[in-house]
Symmetry: D2
Subunit: 278 residues, 4 copies
């Protein structure tokens, strides 16, 4: 398996940024499963999981706290893990344009540098917690680009007053170094690219493609109600939705590791092979 | 959690080499568990797991294929992961001196650069497969330095003729790029620093300290018999031995990830805290 | 030479961040200069250069664009390179607290993890462009902590109306992805920790220690006038100031590489050796 | 500029290995030179410098000790930097197959993952010291694949008895951790893929393409005579050879940094642009 740490200058962030990228390469199994497959076919491409971290995280979270490399290698899918910090994957009017970066500059760069298929059915947008909100709103804003979304422990429901209260509490704020999450500053986002709830309906109304949605959450997670509301809303609108609620798990890495294994190995309708040029 | 990738020139390898090191640093939990603990006390030190990869692996294996960072962070233990490639952690008479590197230069460097306790009870040597052989022989050769050994899916039994045949088979050799493992070239190692079986008895005979031994293996692993022989041998000699045989697992990363979690969270008698200067 | 890439969670930034750190380790020369020196003495420490990048840069800039590793290795000085992006190393009232991070959390963490001397005479704060402004204001705000400052291609003069106009021009803003530098938003900073000009005088008035100042700039650099004003101002106040103006250089990496070589090899009054415990 | 650190499993080395790769990406200058160029054109490719380190080095040497990233970025050339340690880029009959790895597996992998042009005129093999020997012999063994070779401080002359004596001296061996360089073990290499001197003539005799050769050395370098012999030999055979001998430089990084700048910026006949699909 090829594990890539890349540092480059982002135009839309106005600063350098790091990504981790997994590209399936030669594995021991390639030699031992009878015939030896050639792992490097010119023109081959990979399905791609664009994987967004949670609030207060960065590009290295999944590498540190999950075995995403193992699952990606076993299932021959590429994974791109960018940094969004505490941005809620939203454009900052006075600063870094995270929404545009994630949906425009990052795919353009990665597809010109790495062998990633641009076809919508080969692109999965995924994330956990704050990243699940990012994944949901991105899938809804650009349903022509992403065939699937993997929404772990959060999702697209508008922030409830209870959650807003939690995020804004002294204890929570202290954890983040004394400042408040921009997650909450979604005033004026109604009907924009950041309003997944709105765009979910727009896609149906306008006959746009509807990405397949995969939701997963632990039953002990305080986002459970938001998860269930979003699942119900999307089903009602006509989206094809799978939802997993796993007993006993909270908002925690052992859950996300387990779901990533299940999603890449079985749950998502992936090709689990490289894609050869036609 | 602090994840460190370090590149430096090794004198005993005669070349630069890379290590991954985990040093527990500030975590979210430090702020939310009531009192805010200060994560950076001058003079603090950490217990250290020296973690050796398997044959044909390198310093990045555990980072890629296990969640060792999560377990290290939760349990406040430092982890050092060096490269030994296919050396069986043995000094190459014509080249890199892996045994000396792992047991002398690496600890000397790491303890002068990172806050690692040198006390034997704070040092665990561990590994999987080829690395479990390394961990066993190192613990037996230097019982004054390592208070514990974590031996996953392998261990210290002399290579059986069956295993030697497997390692030397065409199919196996093909996986390694067409060459034979130096693991097998243990001619003339009897009674040397590389002969864990021999040194295990020497330690008893000479009244040296006896490290506590933790063995783990899956019941479907072809090393199971070697594991059991080594466990029996060490118990007979008077070592304090814990052994886990887990149903259904083979020689595989999902097993090692699970054992590392158990070992760091519960199994090993760790301090699970930083060590303050007296 | 030990090159370290570290990723960790910063409390004061509210997110993970990366640093590059250079720690002098064994070099070829250690073996060939007659007597073989032992590179790893327990308790040894290093003088430290805290090196700040310019606007729109990050922790990896100096590694990519200069040979700082070579100069650090030759002169046995440790170097810590953090990320400040476009923050002007100023606390964001609604976000990441870069000034506090650079001056409190980063030194506390690095000194508890790496062998860095905390003595003020062993600490140099340095930077280029935006980072030179950071280095100047930090040296002036905390003169008890940093014995020297290395100020490359910029410095501490208040932004002139001309520079503000440049930074705010369409062309300049376009380069940064369409947004304006917070560098300019120093309204209300008069007399605060961010006002180096003010604190330079305060240090004299209050009889505080005065860091030694080393300024360098190319004669073709548009910051030349600001550099000269700051040099004159500090000399007038009684600071010990060295200033280099190098013919023909602009605001460019080849200049900064050259100055770093000169500064570490000859210019700064460094120990050029590790520091042994007394 | 995109700086990539990649870790992957090599089949021909029988172990994981690391590479650093530079891929030109968006730079500040792309926005400020009047028209804003789109840095990411689907199908674009880059000329590639395959850059080999010297004896006792690894993939990170050039990153640490030269500004190769700056020169690559300015001149829009990709650079791939693999590890060869002390192998002399020769296949080890009992181990890692470095010659095959560098000339077969590495290009196949890199061209399937990164946008690198496979055309011979777009491929430069280069190196310093031991790596210059590697570059020379590879260019001579596979003249159909590499249009140019950059040979810094060494080259293709058979090891002289004097050099062999130096390499084998106690003092030299001590620097490498007490073992002798395999560089010298070229018994039986006459007429093989490792015999650049032999293949240089073969290429002429068989009418094969003749790569353009660029030699550079400091006048204080002890390899100067070998350099001059190789230059004279290649010219005599009819190769197009450029040679630089720079006053006052030894076998040292400041020289190699300077030559890399000159070579990428002016000396080599590069395209200094990305290559668009026809």
């Amino acid at each position: 398996m090829g594990l890539i740490h890349m540092s480059f200058l982002s135009k839309l962030l106005g600063m350098p940024t790091d990504i981790n990228v997994i590209i399936p390469t030669y594995t021991r199994e390639d030699s031992t499963e009878g015939t030896i497959r050639d792992p490097y076919i010119p023109g081959m491409k990979f399905q791609t999981l664009w994987l967004l971290h949670g609030g207060g995280g960065d590009y290295a979270d999944y590498l540190k706290y999950t075995n995403i490399e193992l699952y990606a290698e076993e299932n021959k899918v590429a994974v791109v893990m960018p940094s969004g910090y505490n941005s809620a994957y939203t454009d900052n009017p006075d600063g870094a344009l995270y929404m545009q970066y994630i949906t425009e500059e990052l795919p353009a760069m990665c597809r010109s540098i790495f062998p990633l298929s641009p076809a919508p059915e080969d692109n999965i947008i995924g994330g956990l917690s704050m990243g699940s909100g990012g994944a949901f709103k991105i899938a809804m804003a650009y349903p022509e680009r992403y065939g699937m979304a993997l929404i772990m422990s959060g999702g697209g429901s508008p922030i409830t007053p209870e959650a807003a209260k939690l995020f804004d509490s002294e204890n929570y704020v202290k954890r983040l170094g004394g400042f408040r999450l921009p997650i909450l500053k979604n005033d004026g986002q109604e009907g924009t690219v950041n309003d997944g709830w709105f765009n979910a309906k727009r896609n149906v109304d306008e006959g746009r493609p509807l990405p397949r949605l995969f939701f997963a959450i632990g039953t002990e997670d305080s986002f459970l109600v938001g998860h269930q509301r979003c699942v119900a809303y999307c089903r009602e609108l006509g989206y094809e939705v799978s939802s997993i609620e796993t007993e006993g798990y909270k908002h925690e890495w052992r859950f996300w590791d387990r779901i990533l294994d299940a999603a890449l190995s079985r749950w998502l309708p992936l090709r689990r092979s490289y894609l050869l040029p036609q």
